[in-house]
């Protein structure tokens, strides 16, 4: 039915409009009007559906959402949902009107009414959804809007606390509900409630039936503030009172009850149903009504009373009988009306007197007679006095309980209900007495009847309390019939008078017993205060605090800031994982060892020694760097031994560049630091490192042991004829896997750009604290180490050789480049040779002089290198081939003869440019930095001297 979409959509629309208007419009009336009008319009839109419902049809509508997973936005207006819809929209309408009077000038209206409408829509969504996933969605939305409304006055710390707490608790339930719903969905094959009900036998046999029940109960109990999750509701009273009345009394908190009622047909035969639902409900009812009596804050009293009434409804549903469920629906209906009236009148009281504490109130019957009248009526209804609607509901409920007791031959239930009702009556009396009749502690000034906006809803609801009682068949029966039809096949008639039976006796005991308790209230409260206090808040705080502390501990242990620990965990992870796989055994095989001249063993031994020396000397940095150089030389030797001349060449130039770089950086660092690490740590690390080393060695040996098949033969087979090169490694590099090389020079260039930024984004040096685990610097004689060292950094000999070597050296570089495709060499090596030779000029002449002699913008050089490589690759596009498709061609030139030029050469040229550009850029930048540093130091020294001279 199309109108269903209006019912649910209009409040959302109102919310959206409020949000949009909030940019410009500030007037409260506008928003209140939008909100109230849409509630009204929504109610009107619901009328055709309600009519259809009474005619025996079930209005529904489906909007596919994720149909492939069976998730749809499907609405279905069943009886209970219809009753709730009316309740939500009617009370929502009244609340919107009331709030317009309630809010103050400096309360931003858009946020309030926007959230209120959002809630209205979501709540209607909850009660109308047939698709359980959609129900969960709306369910969470009610939580969210409740959060926003509780925190409406966010400048109050209690409001923030209450909002946060309510969100956490109800969201916990929401997630449980979702899980339960998912389980139901899988058990039944559908998320549509109407479908699930049809296969309920199948669902009941499914092994997820019980878990689903438990999860759904958790959802319901948290939402309806059932023990032990009740504690959030009193804290939610920080919300503006209309919100308390609407969400936290009349509607939202009843969503849990709604859920129990909705799922009642499926679950009520489950053996856990009565003990859990009935037990929790009764306990909540008893506990909360008792606690309500002792509250100092009138809203807290109302909050606990709500909790208690919710417990009542839950308990009734827990009976598992259709009659009980119907009673729950009736109690729900009546409670919504009188509790809303009570809240709204409490709101008026607070609005007028600016206090909520009983101690500071009293005698308001004189100051605001109209309000008081209706408030007292509502309180009387709450106490269960005939002929009001409270009495109506209670009688019905007691009757249902009585039947249940007869069936189970136990009157404990009746006894407990009576006790709870006594407390209920007594706190209702207390509310009326202390606020309206008791002598006020001090005379009021400027307290009077409120504006019409505020009063009207109270009058309406208060009157309704009476009307529902005395004219139940008019004011209750139609809606009740619709609502109860979901839980009960035959809907009973409601009537005020059930005769002098057990129920009436119970009511009587409650009404008079309540009066007695009220009289002895002071005594009871004293007694209560002497008992050990249990407080849900405290548990919640303890829990969250524990969570925070635990989380902090965990985080500080893991994310401790210690790189060493990070590495330990990472390495240990790898070791444990691989070891767990390798422990299966059978993987290790010792390979056949190829014989070698014993001299190569010397090379390996030197390498091992030098590597260990590097580790040992790490605090004596120069030594360590030189040890590292020895390692480098030996690695080069190994490359040669293992038939990899290209690698040897590359490593060689890289080695030179690395040494240059490390020393250039070491210029700025302490040359030696004290070794303050505890030896134990070092031994631990060494042990771990040894473990890693042994692991790598064994793994490698085992890999050696197996025969080897590889794709590489292809390269030998095709390098010459398809790629035009004889140096297979180079051909792979620039052709078969040229894309890797493009990536490699990109990395190179990026590093260059990054280094440029690191050096050129100079900052003012600021004094910062020294840290506790800072290495201690050994004071070496300054003339040895600091930038101010004595002596020229160059000699004519160096300069001359640097100059002389440059031209032939560059030719060698060109040679390595030119021949790279056919012999060891290539763009990278050539680039580094070029860089090393020009770097030599930097060393011999200094950065300043070279810059004047050699006008190259290194960043442009890098870009040109990239461009060259890129264009070589893109060139293939023109011929319709993929990126980097190469070609080669022989050119016949006069004198020069036949020259082979593969397109890959231009690619390699790009490599050369990038490499040379980056290395030279780094060297010149570091040189520039050193020069500036020295200038700074010199300036400082001079300034010092000048200061001393004065």
């Amino acid at each position: 039915m199309i109108s269903l979409w209006f019912v649910i959509g209009l409040p959302f629309l109102a919310s959206l409009i409020s949000l949009i208007l909030s940019v410009q419009v500030k007037r409260r009336n506008v928003y209140a009007f939008i909100s109230a009008a849409t509630f009204a319009a929504s109610l009107i839109a619901a009328l055709p559906s309600l009519k259809a419902l009474t005619e025996g049809q079930i209005p529904q509508g489906v909007l596919p959402w994720v149909p492939s997973l069976g998730i749809n936005l499907s609405l279905r207006m069943e009886g209970l949902g219809a009753m709730f819809t009316v309740l939500i929209l009617v009370i929502g309408f009244l609340i919107a009107i009331y709030a317009n009077g309630y809010l103050q000038a400096d309360d931003p209206p858009a946020r309030f009414f926007g959230a209120l409408s959002l809630f209205g829509g979501s709540m209607v969504g909850v009660v109308l959804s047939d698709d359980l996933i959609a129900l969960c969605i709306f369910w969470e939305l009610t939580t969210i809007s409740s959060f926003l409304l509780i925190g409406y006055w966010f400048h109050r710390e209690r409001a923030r606390y209450g909002a946060y707490q309510s969100l956490v608790v109800t969201a916990l339930g929401g997630l449980a509900l979702l899980a339960g719903v998912l389980m139901l969905g899988y058990a039944s094959g559908s998320f549509e409630w109407s479908q699930i009900l049809q296969v309920s036998e199948k669902v009941k046999k499914h092994h997820w039936f019980t878990p689903a029940l438990l999860l759904i109960l958790l959802g319901s109990f948290t939402k309806s503030a059932q023990f032990p999750f009740h504690f959030w509701l009193p804290n939610a009273m920080e919300a503006p009172t209309p919100v308390s009345a609407y969400l936290h009394s009349a509607t939202m908190v009843k969503a849990g009850v709604f859920l129990l009622a909705k799922f009642h047909p499926l679950f009520h035969h489950h053996p856990l149903w009565f003990p859990l639902v009935g037990g929790v409900g009764l306990l909540t009812m008893l506990w909360a009504s008792y606690v309500a009596l002792h509250q100092r804050d009138m809203k807290a009293l109302l909050a606990y009373s709500t909790v208690s009434q919710l417990g009542f409804m839950t308990a009734l549903l827990g009976l598992g009988t259709e009659e009980g469920a119907a009673a729950a629906v009736l109690v729900l209906l009546t409670h919504a009306v009188f509790k809303a009236a009570l809240f709204l009148s409490a709101g008026i009281v607070e609005h007028e007197t600016h206090t909520r504490l009983f101690d500071e109130l009293g005698g308001l019957a004189k100051e605001m007679p109209v309000t008081s009248t209706f408030a007292v009526i509502a309180a009387a209804a709450s106490a269960g006095l005939p002929p009001l609607n409270g009495f109506l509901g209670k009688e019905f409920a007691f009757e249902a309980a009585h039947h249940f007791a007869e069936k189970t031959h136990s009157s404990l239930l009746l006894f407990l209900l009576t006790i709870a009702s006594i407390f209920t009556a007594s706190y209702s009396y207390r509310f009326a007495w202390e606020v309206f009749f008791k002598r006020p502690p001090q005379p009021y000034t400027r307290v009077h009847e409120p504006k019409e906006f505020l009063r009207l809803p109270v009058i309406l609801l208060g009157s309704l309390c009476v009307l529902m009682g005395i004219a139940a068949s008019w004011f209750v029966q139609p809606l009740f019939s619709i609502g109860a039809s979901t839980v009960s096949e035959a809907v009973p008639k409601v009537k005020l008078w059930h005769g002098f039976g057990v129920p009436f006796f119970m009511s009587l005991v409650a009404i008079f017993g309540g009066a007695l308790v009220m009289a002895a209230r002071k005594l009871l409260t004293d007694l209560h205060l002497r008992l050990p206090q249990w407080n849900g808040d405290k548990s919640y705080d303890l829990l969250t605090k524990g969570l925070l502390n635990g989380a902090e501990l965990l985080t500080n242990t893991l994310q401790s800031g210690s790189l060493r620990r990070y590495l330990w965990i990472t390495v240990a992870f790898v070791i444990v994982g691989t070891a767990s796989l390798l422990l299966q055994g059978g993987w290790f095989k010792f390979p056949a060892i190829q014989p070698v001249p014993p001299t190569t063993i010397v090379l390996s031994a030197v390498l091992v020694t030098a590597a260990i020396l590097t580790a040992v000397f790490q605090t004596k940095r120069l030594l360590a760097v030189f040890s590292l150089s020895i390692v480098g030389v030996m690695v080069i030797a190994h490359f040669i031994l293992l038939s990899a001349p290209d690698l040897a060449l590359t490593q060689l130039v890289v080695e030179v560049a690395t040494l240059l770089l490390f020393l250039a950086v070491l210029v700025f660092l302490p040359k030696e630091i004290a070794d303050r690490e505890p030896p134990a740590a070092k031994w631990q690390d060494a042990a771990l490192a040894l473990f890693v080393g042994i692991g790598v060695t064994t793994l490698l040996l085992s890999i050696f042991a197996f025969p080897f098949e590889t794709v590489s033969r292809y390269y030998y087979a095709t390098a010459k004829e398809l790629a035009g090169g004889k140096n297979v490694v180079n051909v792979i590099l620039v052709d078969y896997r040229g894309y890797d090389t493009l990536g490699e020079i990109t990395v190179m260039g990026i590093a260059g750009l990054g280094i440029y930024s690191l050096i050129r984004l100079r900052r003012r040096l600021t004094e910062t604290k020294s840290e506790k685990d800072e290495p201690v610097y050994i004071d070496l004689p300054p003339e040895h180490w600091t930038l101010g060292a004595q002596g020229k950094g160059s000699t004519p000999l160096i300069m001359t050789v640097a100059r002389i070597v440059l031209v032939p050296g560059l030719l060698v570089g060109l040679y390595l480049f030119w021949r790279g495709h056919n012999a060891p060499g290539g763009g990278f090596i050539a680039g580094l040779v070029v860089a090393a030779l020009i770097g030599l000029q930097y060393i011999a002449f200094g950065e300043n002089r070279v810059r004047r002699a050699f006008h190259v913008n290194y960043r442009v050089l890098i870009a040109l290198g990239w461009l060259s490589a890129l264009l070589t690759g893109i060139g293939a596009f023109l011929l319709g081939f993929p990126f980097l498709t190469s070609g080669y061609r022989y050119w016949h030139l006069p004198i020069l003869g036949e020259i082979e030029i593969p397109s890959a050469m231009f690619f390699d040229l790009g490599v050369l440019f990038v490499v040379a550009g980056v290395v030279l850029m780094v060297l010149s930048l570091l040189g520039e930095s050193a020069r500036l540093e020295r200038a700074r130091e010199t300036a400082e020294i001079k300034a010092d001297e000048r200061a001393k001279a004065r």
Binding site: P796, L797, T800, R803, V807, P808, L811, Y815, L896, G897
Partner: protein, 175 residues
């Protein structure tokens, strides 16, 4: 400067350099052929153009035969030096009388000084440690000498004088 002088200088400097680079290219490529040489000259020219900012003075060789004589003498000395070193190193007890002495220079250009310095380093028991910033003296270490003056004289006679004749240098280019 006359045309012929300009041409002469161009000839002496550029063409010889290009020929040398062409030859170097042939050596590198292990192939003595005209096409290889031509390619070398081409690349050499490119390199020369690239590095033009780095050249400060122009040097050339004169009396090439004398240069060759100097070279062979140097090689001979070098081999002898090494046998001496070997003897010292292998002798059961090393008993040395090293010296640090000053060698006044008569050379006028850095290339020659460098050549001398390198030769000193590579030959009998001597090692160039430093050059005075004003290029007036070399500071030399000698591994074993009884008579410093004789050593000094030996160096000057056998290396410095021929070098002075062989290596020529133009005044610094004004840039």
């Amino acid at each position: 400067m006359t045309t012929s002088q300009v041409f002469g200088q161009w000839w002496r400097l550029r063409v010889r350099a290009l020929i040398a680079l062409g030859l170097l290219w042939c050596l590198l490529n292990n192939r003595l052929s005209l096409s290889e040489f031509a390619l070398g000259v081409l690349f050499g020219a490119f390199v020369l153009w690239l590095t033009k900012g780095f050249r400060h003075e122009r040097i050339w060789l004169e009396r090439e035969w004398k240069a060759i004589f100097l070279l062979s003498d140097f090689l001979k000395q070098m081999v002898i030096a090494n046998f001496q070193v070997a003897r010292i190193v292998l002798s059961p007890k090393i008993n040395l009388r090293p010296a640090l002495f000053v060698l006044p220079l008569e050379l006028d250009n850095d290339v020659a000084i460098t050549a001398l310095g390198n030769m000193i380093t590579l030959t009998p028991g001597t090692l160039t440690i430093d050059v005075a910033p004003d290029r007036s003296v070399l500071f030399v270490h000698c591994i074993h000498t009884e008579d410093v003056d004789a050593t000094r004289k030996g160096i000057k006679e056998s290396f410095e004088r021929p070098l002075k004749e062989v290596l020529r240098c133009s005044p610094k280019r004004v840039s």
